[in-house]
């Protein structure tokens, strides 16, 4: 939010600064990729490979070239949207991500619907009832959500709701035996299964989604609640809210029509950022739930030193975040008359 206000100095400067940020991002990802101590070549050729095999692959990957050349090559590749091949999957990284990301987006979207749907009204209620019991309860609830180690809660929830109660599906995106039955069109399983008319897969997918999404949603609702509350408090003390009351509007009307209207843009920004940081929660929760999404793709590649994949993942996260920031800037421009 602060970001945006600062960036209202004109579109060109704006675009320029984004370019610079992107460039910095590229340097950062390149550096991260190159100093990783794990040996990608060894991961490819295996433990017992002979030296000839090793060096053959080493050269294939271009690792024998000087750093700056490698960086220029990297830049060229990025510009041409060629992110190389993943060592671990042997597929173009972009193709891998095109498969992994939809799973995470599905998860994150569900989570954000839960999170925003819960967090926004709770934040408003807390603000309106500042310092009353409602506020205290919501405060503790949301701070709990903010404080819980999500991987731990995930494990415990899995144990309770899947292993003991059997209410929800276990790990993965769907029950194991449905895997590979749905033709992949969008890679969004829910959509694909509907397109294919396979309702049992759809339900299975939904069943597997609900628990991790609820957990992620709770933790992001914590953030959204806190922010909504403080935005709302700022607004409630503004004179124009008094004006609205003087006009004879009821409290409800003043809050929703006037105060809430003024936090809408900030709220969208916050939700956008929360959506972005669900990627973070996804890293852990996907590990716990063996959910084949972006987070798991990233961590498993990290561990074996799959340079291309890691660099691209990090780059994509960065780009997503920058994109979300731009989006919230644009929203500011569009929705706030003062910045037009």
């Amino acid at each position: 939010m602060r970001l945006s206000r600062r960036r209202l100095n004109g579109l060109t400067e704006h675009g320029f600064s984004i370019l610079i940020t992107l460039f910095g991002l590229l340097i950062l990802t390149f550096v991260i990729g190159r100093i990783m101590p794990t040996d990608p070549v060894r991961a490819m050729v295996g433990e017992d490979a002979s030296r000839e095999v090793y060096e053959h692959v080493y050269q294939q990957l271009g690792l024998d070239k000087p750093m700056w050349q490698q960086f220029l090559l990297y830049l060229r590749d990025v510009v041409t949207l060629d992110f190389g091949t993943s060592i671990r999957t042997g597929q173009p990284v972009l193709q891998d991500i095109a498969r992994a990301l939809p799973a995470t987006i599905e998860l994150a979207t569900f989570a954000i619907i839960i999170g925003a749907g819960l967090g926004t009204p709770m934040g408003v209620i807390a603000a309106v009832n500042k310092d009353k019991w409602q506020d205290q309860v919501i405060r503790v609830l949301s701070l709990m959500g903010h404080s819980m180690p999500i991987f731990w809660t995930g494990m415990i929830a899995l144990l309770i709701f899947y292993a003991n109660l059997g209410w929800v599906g276990g790990s993965g995106r769907m029950s194991q035996f449905y895997i590979g039955l749905v033709p992949e069109r969008t890679n969004f399983l829910l959509i694909d299964s509907i397109l294919a008319g396979q309702w049992d897969v759809f339900w299975s997918a939904l069943n597997h989604l609900i628990l991790p999404a609820a957990l992620l949603g709770y933790s992001s609702s914590a953030y959204i609640t806190r922010m909504t509350r403080s935005f709302m408090l700022d607004q409630i003390n503004q004179e124009y809210v008094t004006t609205a009351r003087v006009k004879g509007l009821s409290r409800r009307q003043t809050i929703w029509r006037h105060a809430f209207g003024n936090i809408r843009v900030q709220l969208v920004t916050i939700v956008a950022l929360a959506y972005g940081s669900l990627l973070e929660g996804a890293v852990l929760i996907e590990t716990v739930f063996a959910f084949p999404g972006f987070g798991q793709y990233l961590t498993s590649n990290l561990l074996i030193g799959d340079m291309n994949a890691v660099m691209t993942c990090v780059l994509i996260v960065g780009v997503i975040f920058i994109g979300l920031n731009i989006l919230s800037d644009i929203l500011y421009r569009v929705f706030d008359p003062r910045t037009r």
Binding site: R2, R6, S17, I20, T21, G24, L25, L28, T29, V31, I32, G33, I35, M36, P37, T38, Q136, R139, V140, L143, M144, H146, S147, M148, P149, I150, F151, W152, T153, M155, I156, L159, A163, G276, S277, L279, E280, V283, L284, T287, L298, T299, L302, L303, G305, V310, V314, V317, G318, F321, I322, N325
Partner: protein
């Protein structure tokens, strides 16, 4: 003198800082939630300081005859897969947690403060350059950036701390900068300039004290995130390495035995939860106590 202040003012004997600190603590103890935070953190401090006295066993001492022993009077929280006493490991783990917090704080606080105030005070090109750098760091969720850093540096506790510190300062810098921007135009800053103060002096004497409360609040709240990130890294096997009794790592290993031996993950998880919750509650309470708006009120 013809004028009088409306309220009688108490004579001051203690330095302002001490009084303020006392007032803040008193304020915090008045709210049950902040009190909880204070107590938990006090407990953490005591545990860490007197770990060898409190722990009932050697946290590294294995007893392969006594693995996965459920909680009992011998082993308060049971034993792990190598027969180590979980209670003692938790107690010693508090030292790791505190180390992380301490190191991260002393890196992140000053770094963020300097970056932010300098950028905010000078504005212009300096600001642009510094903020571009923070932007780059900020364009990642902290866990993913720490993951990338740890992957690049190699997994270990120290590297995890470095990675967390590297990812934790930009928000502080942002905050300090935003605060500085609001004070920069203040008349008292102009007055200091008119008295011939150098920029460094102004930043140090006039701006830093103003930014400090909100930075402190933010740092406290950040600590919760730091703890969770550290635990997350430990959980993914990228943080503290065995046999260090880091709580996240304990969960990661305990997870393999979770179904039958609930105590392996439950207690470290609760420990993380309560410390991180304590920081959040305390930060929240501090925000009320140090509310910058209240402080600047006339």
């Amino acid at each position: 003198m013809t004028q009088e202040t409306s309220a009688a003012l108490p004579r001051r004997t203690m330095p302002q800082g001490l009084i303020a600190a006392r007032n803040i603590v008193v304020f915090l103890t008045r709210s049950p939630t902040s009190l909880f935070g204070l107590v938990v953190l006090g407990l953490l401090l005591i545990l860490a300081l007197f770990a060898p006295l409190i722990a009932t066993h050697d946290p590294y001492m294995q007893d392969l005859q006594n693995t996965l022993h459920p909680p009992s009077s011998d082993y308060l929280f049971g034993t792990d897969e190598l027969g180590r006493d979980i209670f003692s490991r938790l107690v010693h783990g508090s030292r790791i947690t505190l180390t992380i917090i301490f190191l991260v704080t002393i890196v992140v606080g000053p770094l963020g403060l300097i970056f932010g105030t300098v950028a905010g005070y000078f504005g212009g090109k300096v600001d642009t350059v510094l903020m571009r750098i923070t932007d780059i760091f900020l364009s990642f969720p902290s866990l993913i950036l720490s993951l990338a850093f740890v992957a690049a540096l190699g997994p270990s506790l120290n590297n995890a701390i470095i990675a967390i510190a590297l990812t934790a300062w930009p928000p502080i810098a942002r905050l300090a900068r935003a605060e500085t921007m609001t004070f920069r135009q203040a008349d008292y800053i102009s007055a200091a300039r008119l008295q011939g103060a150098s920029p460094a002096r102004i930043i140090w004497r006039s701006i830093v004290p103003m930014c400090l409360p909100s930075v402190l609040i933010r740092l406290t709240l950040n600590m919760a995130t730091v703890i969770l990130t550290a635990a997350g890294l430990g959980f993914l096997g990228l943080g503290a390495q065995p046999p260090l009794p880091e709580w996240g790592a304990m969960i990661a290993t305990g997870r393999r035995y979770m179904i039958d031996s609930w105590w392996l993950v439950t207690f470290p998880g609760l420990a993380i939860l309560s410390v991180s919750l304590a920081f959040n509650l305390l930060g929240d309470g501090l925000r009320d106590a140090l509310d910058p708006k209240q402080m600047n009120r006339r």
